[in-house]
């Protein structure tokens, strides 16, 4: 097929390849209709990305891809963990923007009478929206420990969160090598102000019910056993802390491009060799931001549990509010992968893509109208996509157009009539996140299943949501 003037060759049921335009081939893990729905810039940006130096084998584009800054949202590539290059823009501003799924032993029937109260209480307990401050006040030293030691420090020293959550977080909620001294004062200030906040835009906290279980035997291993079971899903990242780190290092990387005579088509894709001290500093700072995000999501989970306790008058443990998994979708990770040259340590860049090792939980969040999925990582992802899969349903419409298409207040009323109660800090923010602004999540999940990257486990229907 031809798209955006590029010839894509079909290599599988949900797999196309673009060759000859870049240093490495670009694999699109999507069905034809999803590729046709991608905006043209996805392809130009994918080619720019695939011309970065030092890439291993291929660039992978996920079925929910849409154009971003530099690299498309929904891009994965890898470089040698020692001799390769690192690109802050190809990891993203919101370092470790990610997803968290929490199970309960409640059913929809049980929660319905309390739904509005719970949503309102969540809105009261979890700061959302522009300029909102976090409820968790920590000192600089405590922040240093949080971003260097991760969730373990939060739980053991600050007494927030559950110890049993730690093993259910990617990298146990602590990426090794994080270094607070690599983080600017400005990033620290933004982090101190925003620790324990949800944010705005497409970040959200959602109450969902199990609508369909695709594999009951496997779902039971994660505490999911019946239709109508209540779950909670959280989508947020490293807030201003991560954004500032990315901004700071983009600027510094750009200043050093000439030293290595690196040419990039888009300055958002600036990169440096990992042997450079600045690149090492960025890796350390990025790891700190990733840990900040893990800590942030655990802190918010603490508040979620408190909100449920307050409204329902039962302990969160008695409500079975266990963490299923917490996983990043904007990150640079050092991982071992099989390549054509054998097993190798690689630095995998995932921007709008989720880690998907076989048997690992994957969380793909949809819009507040359409629902979300839990999946399991697939075997094929190991050799096709550096163990990666999609992360969401992907925007298809600009924010401005979405706002012109519907009023936020009308959308809230419409959703309430459908039984979805939403509390939002901004009407225009709600309009921007309308379901029609996103791809059909079922098609995205179908594509990753066909490509062998991950298999659907559970489909979740939203019933309540708070957003900024």
């Amino acid at each position: 097929m031809i798209k955006a003037g590029f010839k894509l060759e079909k290599t599988g049921e949900a797999e196309f390849v673009l060759k000859g335009q870049s240093a490495v081939p670009i694999y699109f893990f999507a069905t034809q209709d999803l590729i046709e729905s991608m905006d043209d810039d996805v392809f130009f940006q994918a080619v720019n990305t695939a011309n970065l130096p030092g890439l291993e084998e291929r660039v992978c584009i996920m079925p929910d891809a849409h154009s971003g800054y530099g690299a498309p949202i929904g891009t994965v590539f890898a470089v040698d963990a020692e001799a390769g290059y690192i690109s802050p823009g190809a990891i993203g501003f919101d370092i470790n923007c990610g997803m968290r799924a929490i199970i309960t032993n409640l059913t929809e029937t049980e929660i319905r009478p309390y739904l509005e109260s719970i949503v309102n209480k969540l809105y009261e307990y979890v700061p959302v929206g522009v300029g909102k401050k976090g409820f968790l006040k920590v000192s600089r030293l405590q922040l240093k420990n949080l971003v260097e030691k991760g969730v373990l420090y939060l739980v053991k020293t600050l007494g927030i969160g559950w110890a049993e959550d730690i093993e259910k977080i990617e990298e146990n909620g602590s990426i090794v090598g994080a270094d607070f001294s690599a983080v600017s004062k400005r990033a620290v200030e933004r982090g101190l102000a925003q620790l324990g906040t949800l944010g705005s835009g497409n970040h959200y906290l959602e109450i969902q019910v199990v609508e369909k279980i695709h594999n009951l035997e496997k779902a039971k291993k994660f505490g999911i056993s019946k239709k109508g079971q209540v779950m909670i899903m959280l989508h947020c990242g490293s807030r201003g802390f991560g954004h500032q780190i990315c901004s700071d290092y983009l600027r510094e990387f750009e200043r050093k491009l000439d030293v290595y005579r690196i040419r990039v088509a888009d300055h958002q894709l600036v990169c440096l060799p990992l042997s450079d001290p600045l690149a090492k500093d960025y890796l350390s700072a990025m790891s700190a931001a990733a840990n900040f995000a893990f800590v942030n999501r655990e802190t918010i989970t603490h508040r979620i549990r408190q909100a449920f306790e307050k409204v329902l008058g039962k302990k969160a443990k008695d409500l079975g509010m266990e963490l299923i998994y917490d996983v990043a979708h904007n990150i640079g990770k050092i991982e071992e992968h099989f390549t054509k040259k054998g097993k190798k340590k690689l630095l995998v860049h995932r921007k709008g893509a989720t880690r998907s090792f076989p048997g690992q939980i994957v969380i793909i969040g949809g819009s507040m109208e359409t629902g979300s999925y839990l999946l399991l990582g697939g075997e094929d992802s190991l050799y096709k996509s550096f163990a990666s899969t999609a992360h969401g349903s992907g925007r298809t419409m600009s924010r401005a157009k979405a706002k012109r298409s519907i009023r936020g207040s009308d959308l809230l009323k419409k959703l309430k009539r459908r039984g979805i109660y939403i509390k939002a800090a901004s009407f225009s923010g709600v309009a921007e996140e309308a379901g029609f602004a996103y791809k059909d999540i079922n098609r995205v999940v179908c594509a990753v299943e066909k490509a062998g990257l991950s298999e659907p486990l559970v489909y979740l229907r939203p019933i309540g949501n708070i957003k900024g």
């Binding site: 800054y69 300029g131 909102k132 101190l192 954004h243 924010r399 800090a425």
Partner: protein, 138 residues
């Protein structure tokens, strides 16, 4: 007075703004107005002031540093600065008195501006006329 408009043909998830200005003072005012426009804020009653001053290498550095300050005040002090009250600028140093208001006094804010992206960042200058395209991560 700088001309500031939101651009439609942009990457799907972001906000892009074009600023046209005559002279560097006008450019600075336009950059601050661009922040307001990107946030969707059009408040007239501005009760807060802050003075910022810094050195800069060139126009790009100037723009990046102004946004750094504006985003910082929004996130750390919950203050949004939308207008330039006064300005002193030479080739490498700027001092700006900003006017703004607390976040809590703004109506419906919509998407948050979290960072200035380098994607499509373009600064054109002809004689004293500037045309700048900015893309924000929201």
């Amino acid at each position: 007075m700088a001309d500031v408009e939101i651009l439609e043909n942009t990457a799907i998830a972001d906000v892009s703004i074009r600023v046209k200005a005559e002279g560097i003072e006008d450019l600075v005012e336009g950059i601050v107005l661009a922040f307001a426009k990107a946030l969707g804020v059009n408040e007239k009653r501005l009760c807060l002031s802050r003075r910022i001053k810094f050195d800069f290498d060139d126009e790009k550095d100037l723009i990046i540093k102004i946004f750094d300050e504006l985003i910082f005040f929004k996130d750390v002090y919950s203050e949004i600065f939308l207008r330039v009250k006064s300005l002193k600028i030479n080739k490498s140093r700027v001092e700006i008195l900003l006017k703004g208001l607390p976040v809590g006094q703004v109506g419906d804010l919509g998407a948050d501006i979290k960072a200035l992206s380098y994607h499509n960042l373009a600064i054109k200058k002809k004689n004293d006329l500037y045309e700048v395209v900015l893309t924000f991560d929201v």
